[in-house]
Subunit: 338 residues, 4 copies
């Protein structure tokens, strides 16, 4: 009974179907008929013209977005615990040619205009100090928190005032939208987001994410950079097919909704153990080492997490689109019984 | 009847089977059981210890190899028409942080020790000139030519004498080995190759190539760089599965052999039109514009190619693992009838 | 009466003499007789074989050193307020091709093995997280503090245990050595430092620093990188001459000693205002805005500094090799009279 | 009697005077009064608004210019024997983050619109091939040839039509202008040049060149990049002083004129030996090994040069602003007597 990560979950049957249907030869790279449908399909989804590029991983999507928004000598503001800072092996430094991540604080891995201002206002406007050029937020965050529409809009207003681009790392964008119940455009294009990494792999895909630009010039630039980074697959139709399958008939929201529900069921059993409100599909719980061992003895697998102040230990539990209801129920019960 | 490229061909049924079998959740990235089998499987294949990393594209495989063999301030010798120089969108410059490709000449896109010496001997051994650090050859070449075992050995002897690493771009390595009928290790590890991009996509795979290092230290380094480049897929088991399917039971050689056979059948009909000996699955033919139009009118699709001196025009014809024998026969007949 | 920075002070007469004597044509770049003397002169100075490269700025010296010690995918530990992090315009990111600065805390901009361990021990040893490859310390620090011989030795022991290189930013190395009264080798080579940026400009030079490597392989590599960065001047003899003039007859220590003395005289008048012990040529004082204005009204120029907690304001006062004793005395008196 | 290079010549007395006068402390970096005069002084010189940044070397000036004109994924067209390609240690790859130099042919190291078109027209307009973004020409060229005003204008017209920036490497710009007898603006701003590396070191300076932008946005960007590259000297006033001394009272043209004259005197004695018309201060002569030895036996020093087809050997002779007339006369006589 694995609650390690949504990262490694199975591929959804509809994605398999789409993959199989994509198997007849077509133009290479992104010249095939399926890839050519992406822009229109995502423009429909977001209710505004946008360009969508398939890309194999979230790290590549994030890093290409940052490179489009920030010159090599600039900086990108993100949360101190953002995935781009902590878990992408220095990818942002590679793709941006050495730009700097500027680390803001904020509860639940969320950042705010005030927090960003506190970070960048002391930066002298001279060539000795790296100047900020963009902001990157994660939706849902690394702690499973979700920015509200108003929070994103406030960040984008701030970004515009300061002349900064705004990137959203949406590895779990579907979970955030499912939680908010809003239109996907409301939390992105309409809220002023410039570039979105739209997650698909964690949500039932195999190996395709979408990098969505609400500014076509950035997309054009990025097509060159995607190729240059060795991310232009020759049978790109298989990547495109996954994305189309995911957004057709709201599969992405159904899958994310299922994962969110499972997380809620577990969260409901955690009481005071909860370290963060559960808004997506991640549950962070205080757990003493003995308690963690007890759960593992029952067959539950999950990652330990650094213990916050005043707690004996912690764990991260992640549900996914196909978390087995029996496993979820069992885990909820087991936690309640600790 | 498409003879554009093997790049866009269908995925082999055995690869599909392997993909489906890989669908049960496992550890993420390359920690899963299938990825963990790669090193041993490729060591068996090459008859020597090696490390094999899956990677989505040949461009990424090539560029990671070059970055492992050449520092940012160095140079890599390759043929003037090498894929890394001509068709990878500047990827080598990105991955090597600005190292230089040094362009040697040679018939059929093959380079020789003499040709390389002519290029690098005049380079002054001082800091003003970029010094060579590696050689990269393509096997089979961009013109469908195959280096013999002796030719590779001569290059690797030369490389060793000059302190240069040796990379082999094997996007069509299978076609070369099928042509030579040699052991794969004889043309790589035993012949002194340091790093091999082992092609799978053109040969019936979906989106996985193998980057094989015969020096484990370079593989260790490259694991960090693969992640940093956003090429570490979270469901890496699907990439590994394609590669294992390909090398099990010699599927890779069967597929390449089929493509090579089809190419021979067409070549046999080309007579004086042949611009290069046909040794793999590419046929370069002299073709006047009217002749090309005539073939297209019959339903054959292919790329025009720059006309060599003294010829009215040219075309590239590429066969693949599943080229339809009827189409192949028809094309051969149509060319003969021109 | 300027106490802004030693950065902009005059050039010492002995440096002028050396520059003039270097004016006869000689080989270009670093092939001239004066440049050729650098290695031996610095080896004498440090009591061990080393290689010394002239370079126009401290930023370039620091960044070339970091690039020699850390691969693009790695990290360098430094203090949160280190010059390389705060004031070099992202130069480390440029020269290292995107490596990461990892920010440790510590009083007075000094870092300790414990502080570094607290920072790097939680880093998982996997490809998702940037791994540390080097440590960079500033001697004297950005707050005018000096690492003792034992402190440097402890850091280098720690560095060796963890497989990390050790760089010393010695923009004010002379001030540190003058303060410690030790042999320059005792605080560098003998203490395990791998690379030293040896400051000259702030100490009476015009536009030359020395980058000293105690590992010749790193120096050889860096000669290529210096050229590649456009830092190999064609009339390099003028850079070399400044450095030789500086270290001959201990001019560097005399100059630094004079600056340190002046700083001590001012410090002695500051009492409780002192924010850091004064060990080199920088004095950080608590100063209310009205007090700062009063000093400026008397003709003293200096930089305001962010006010530390519980203080109404602060200022940085910097002395230099030729601070006018009358100005120094006047400033000391004026502060005492506040 | 050295005819190696103008690279290593003495510093002009007026430059020494300017350096000495710059020695009183002032603001650091480029905030001092002398640096602040550069933009106006160069705007006067070129008869149009421009921004001039001091920089220690021609390599850095060239590379910063290329980085301003070409994105990392783009290419810069230059002559196959251009200094940026042959003699800058890969600096362009470093500064541009891996952009590609595209090598055009042309007599005397000059390139033409037709030559560039032949190079770039075959480039497919897709992401697989690096697209050109700029042209770089050397004035005077590496073979001492000078582009006429019309030739530069034709190149800039071509550049504008193709959407390419135009950079001029003017390491010997003074020699070119002295030869042409034109206004400096006529061959740069008015002719459509975007960025100029204005040489000073070879022409009597110590260690300062000017990087002149006729587009202020590129200058603003480059100020950040200059700092990031460690090229912002803290006592920048000494760099600025050299440049102002050089352009005041036409010292730059007087010095270049003297060097050109000396070259003409030698050229007049060379007859059929001349490999290129002598238009600046470099003379390329056919010289058999025995003849070269004979000249050296007489005390003349110079570089051998690769022998062109049909010649037994060659040499490069370079005059400088202070070539001794007696040496020049003696060399001319000695060559005539061979």
């Amino acid at each position: 009974m694995k609650f390690f990560s949504d990262n490694a979950a199975s591929v959804h049957p509809k994605v398999w179907d789409a993959l199989k249907q994509a198997d007849s030869p077509d133009s290479a790279y992104d010249g095939d008929a399926i890839s050519q449908r992406l822009d229109a399909a995502f423009s429909d989804l977001f209710g505004t013209d946008c360009a969508a590029l398939w890309i194999a991983t979230g790290t590549a999507a994030n890093c290409l977005a940052l490179a489009a928004l920030c010159p090599p000598h600039g900086g990108v503001v993100c949360h101190r615990e953002a995935h781009i800072e902590v878990d992408e092996g220095g990818g942002p430094g590679f793709y941006t040619h050495g730009a700097k991540l500027m680390l803001a604080d904020g509860e639940g891995a969320k950042i705010t205009p005030a927090g960003i201002a506190a970070l960048i206002d002391p930066i002298r406007d001279d060539v000795h100090q790296v100047q900020p050029h963009a902001i990157s937020i994660t939706q849902a965050t690394e702690y499973g928190r979700v920015y509200s529409v108003d929070e994103v809009a406030a960040l984008s207003t701030f970004a515009r005032q300061r002349g900064l681009g705004l990137h959203m790392d949406g590895a779990r964008f579907a979970n955030a939208v499912a939680h908010l119940g809003c239109m996907p455009g409301a939390i992105t294009a309409a809220a002023g987001v410039t570039a979105l990494s739209f997650g698909c792999v964690k949500n039932g895909g195999m190996n395709a994410e979408a990098l969505v630009f609400f500014d076509p010039a950035l997309a054009d630039l990025t097509r060159y950079r995607r190729k240059r980074a060795g991310h232009l697959q020759s049978k790109g139709r298989f990547a495109a097919a996954q994305l189309l399958a995911m957004i057709e008939d709201d599969l992405w929201l159904d899958n994310a909704g299922a994962a969110n529900c499972a997380a809620q069921e577990i969260a409901a059993s955690c009481g005071d153990r909860l370290l963060h409100p559960v808004e997506a599909n991640e549950i962070f719980v205080a757990l003493a080492p003995a308690e963690a061992a007890a759960l593992r003895a029952l067959g539950f697998d999950f990652y330990d997490w650094p213990a916050p102040a005043g707690r004996p230990g912690a764990a991260r539990l992640v549900t996914s689109w196909n978390s087995d209801p029996a496993h979820v129920g069992a885990l909820a019960k087991a936690i309640a019984a600790l």
